[in-house]
């Protein structure tokens, strides 16, 4: 009997070992897309480091290797091919790469994709949806500050003050708590802060009309839409301010 060399994947196909540092740039980027897809954090970190060593700017690594890869993940999540636990791993791998890029981006003054503070409103402990939104946003390259459940106006204001994000995200699943979103938006207006932040809201009992009524900038029906909307709105805002 012949010994099989190399590993076997789910399909029983033989997998060849590769050495990332030996790949040319274009192949390495494609390989990193696959590594993100499979949630291989260490490999993504290694790939990120290699590209930086080869003289790529942090911005270029971010957009071509990481965001490019996560876009594919997002598409396959939307289409039901990737499952939530797999996207979670992919987002984690992305975070691994980001942890290397972030200080470099900060040094050059380049902006990250965006920053978001997210939490459920006062009286509401439903957080599964919020967690999924956070995961998708991280996957899209956002820095996400999750302030958890049951947040009062003061909690939100304090987090905005501290983290200066692009986006304030609020989630609510109860008809008894979703009106509180308006209380928060009103407080932003009162403090002259309303225009400083993009306000995004979501949760199963909400709809577009309700989001308009509370004065939010966007309502998103699910996590995938939240991340695409966030990317678009941050880009638009930066363009408008530029």
């Amino acid at each position: 009997m012949l010994d099989n060399v190399g590993d076997h994947n789910e399909m029983g196909e033989e997998e060849e070992d590769i050495i990332l540092s030996e790949l040319p740039n274009d192949e390495l980027v494609l390989q990193m897309h696959d590594d993100l897809y499979d949630g291989l954090k260490e490999d993504v970190v290694e790939g990120t480091t290699i590209l930086l060593e080869r003289g790529w700017s942090a911005e270029k690594v971010l957009s071509e290797a990481l965001v490019g890869g996560m876009t594919i993940v997002g598409i396959d999540f939307r289409d039901g091919i990737l499952f939530v636990p797999e996207v979670l791993l992919a987002a984690n791998a992305m975070k691994g790469g980001m942890s290397i890029l972030q200080p470099l981006l900060a040094e050059t003054g380049a902006k990250p994709v965006g920053t978001m503070v997210i939490g459920t409103v006062k009286g509401d402990i439903h957080d599964i949806g919020k967690n999924l939104v956070g995961m998708m946003m991280e996957g899209a390259g956002f820095v996400v500050i999750d302030i958890g459940i049951n947040n009062s106006v003061e909690d939100y204001l304090a987090a905005l003050e501290k983290y200066q994000p692009d986006i304030l995200g609020m989630s609510a699943l109860l008809t008894t708590t979703m009106p509180y979103m308006k209380v928060v938006v009103n407080a932003l207006v009162e403090h002259g802060l309303r225009d400083k932040y993009i306000v995004m809201v979501g949760g199963a009992p909400l709809n577009e009309e309700f989001a308009d009524a509370v004065g939010a900038d966007a309502y998103c029906r699910d996590a995938a839409e939240a991340s695409t909307t966030a990317i678009r709105m941050v880009a638009e805002k930066r363009l408008a301010c530029a």
Binding site: G80, V84, G123, I125, I128, T175, P179, Y180, A204, P205
Partner: protein
Amino acid sequence: MSERSGRRKSRGRDAKHADRKRNQMEVAAFIDRKIPYFDYLSTESLELIEHNADTVLEEIGIDFRDDPEALSLLKDAGADVEGERVRFPRGMCRSIIQASAPKEFTQFARNTERNVIIGGDRTVLVPSYGSPFVRDLDGGRRYATINDFENFVKLAYMAPGLHHSGGTICEPVDLPVNKRHFDMIYSHIKYSDKPFMGSVTHPDRAQDTVDMAKLVFGDEFVENNCVCISLINANSPMTFDATMLGAAKVYARHNQATMISPFILAGAMSPVTVAGTATQILAEALAGMAFVQIVKPGAPVVFGTFASAISMQSGAPTFGTPEPSMVMYAVGALARRLGVPFRSGGGLTASKVPDAQAAYESANTLQAAAMSGVNFMLHTAGWLEGGLSMSYEKFIMDCDQANMLAVLLKGADMSENGQAMDALREIGPGSHFLGSAHTQANFKTAFYRSTVADNNSFEQWQADGELDCAQRANAQWKQMLNDYVAPELDPAIDEALLEFISKRKGSFPDKEY
């Protein structure tokens, strides 16, 4: 006029028309089960789950959040309290519960013929709960209003297969958040005489529920008897929050029933396996029910569970799939071993409209709930869209299913008449039974007659307008609301309730949270 003696006057066409239109359902206050439980897991498996649940309680513990009083009560009772984490020595919760929690209890209704016994071999069927939206064929999906709420109370009152008026049948979104409970409780009392559920979204609202019940039943009666039952959800995994604990304390102290319900979307809120989920549910329920017994020994508690699995593709809850049914079978058996009533089940579905998906997912969960021995079946009728929407048509379709569960649980008739040996002898080989004396005597009630299914010929169905099930149900609920006659309510009680409500509503400002 010639007098013929010895012949009964025939009742004729009109009488028969009236007879056939009347629902042939026996109206009973609740279902008395006559069939065995379906043992899905072996005794060894159940013992293993019990052992593991005790390990969870002892080793990992349960968080009781933002409620220092709860922590000190638990500590005094012998639990190990570290911050908000509470660990229970092996067997502690079980022995506290078994020492004082009733195995079964009566929930009184303002019409005593509607009293229900919760626990033992009984099943009480209850409308759906908690939907922010309603939907019907004419108006589509929209936020619910108090008018919808009243409509559903009336429909549940008229439905012979539902034994209970339920609680937050749908959320009256048109009323201020901090005052809508008054109108909901009032509707249950005014438009129905079946038993009802209380408000849990704030301890003050629980207190208002108790105070309103006292105006109906009298102070002393309420302190000594269960007149309302309320839904206390665990915030799984392994957490109880102050809102729910606060409401639970109010109800327990007034001797009112609570259903401690781990409400699980498996995969997100519990492990993905049946045994793992059942273990966590048991641990959480044991902790919650023991807490209620510590607050007020003897206060009625129900072991609740609501199990669903999430879609691994989106995180959304799914219904009518096999795994949550397995969990329900397991937890039903665990509740019986513990010796407390069991709440679960319902006509659950993720479908957005009352279509084929809605029907089969609901049938799957309703049947499994019946077989698993659910005593209090919340969400029996109306549920759509994972509980986000309460449907008028689906309500009618589910009521049909509810009627059928009553027949199923009654078991087969093994009396002499049930054995039908006379019929077999009379007819013998080769003939048919339609004319036999036995058939003539039994045909009216022998088979359940669906209220919404169509079994006619294709041509007849065509002539009747080619209606599908939802369309037939649409006509039915409208007819029911049209025919509705309110049960009598003592005007003095009505006045007292209205006065109480207006006084309380006037004593604090409207708030939208």
